[in-house]
Symmetry: C2
Subunit: 111 residues, 2 copies
DNA sequence: AATCTATTTAACCGATAAGATAATTAACCT
DNA sequence: AGGTTAATTATCTTATCGGTTAAATAGATT
């Protein structure tokens, strides 16, 4: 089954190692070895995680000599933020204007 | 490995069927059969999806006769929204891109 | 040319996920 | 009691995931 963008993004984000990598990258570019350093995990494992993040469009990679520095590309997160925003009222607790929101919600995702 | 809340929530949300179920539930409670109806999928499959959502705390279930109506519980989404909010500046960009722009300008002025 | 460094690819493994079918539980209605 | 409806559990298959070790590629250095 060809996965939709939102599913690809969310499942990329569902792994704690990958989220930690993104957090690290929010402080700036980093090489694969730098990214791997904090984890009790082999390099190929990190390499795989990076490939998942790249496929999801959450990072991009350049080439400098033998290094392949990674950069955060947060754009796909916007889809997640937008989707989840439709549910904010359900945890924010102000159920007062429920009716106003219903039609908006129903315009949401139809797979 | 015991999964953290955020990972459990995100992987529950990573499936389009489950997201569609949540969207449906944002319009109000529904029975399992009602939830299953729009999908080309057997009932046990839906039942499994519901179990995943329940484990993630994204739905709760009551018992009325032979029906087990499901209700949306959006609370766990808050963790997702909070986490992702840290990245908004990277796609909203106004601040970031302004910084880039300003440093570009300064380089231009110096040369 | 030889070697060191950075990273990826290949091949494999165990665990989990998503689906199916068939059987089972639970509650309702004659 | 017997049958219908609602939903779950059990079992199985197939595919993907997250990790490993070992080998391969690519570029820099000596």
């Amino acid at each position: 089954m060809t996965q939709d963008h939102l599913s690809v993004t969310l499942s990329a984000l569902a792994d704690p190692t990958r989220r930690a990598i993104l957090t690290r990258l929010s402080a700036g570019e980093a090489s694969v070895n730098e990214l791997a350093e904090p984890f009790a995990m082999t390099l190929p494992a990190i390499s795989k995680h990076l490939k998942v993040l790249e496929r999801a469009g959450l990072i991009s990679r350049s080439r400098t000599a033998q290094w392949r520095p990674c950069r955060l590309e947060a754009a796909p997160m916007r889809g997640v933020a937008d989707w989840i925003e439709n549910y904010r009222r359900f945890w924010d607790g102000s159920l007062d204007h429920l009716d106003d929101y219903l039609s908006e919600i129903q315009k949401g995702e139809k797979s």
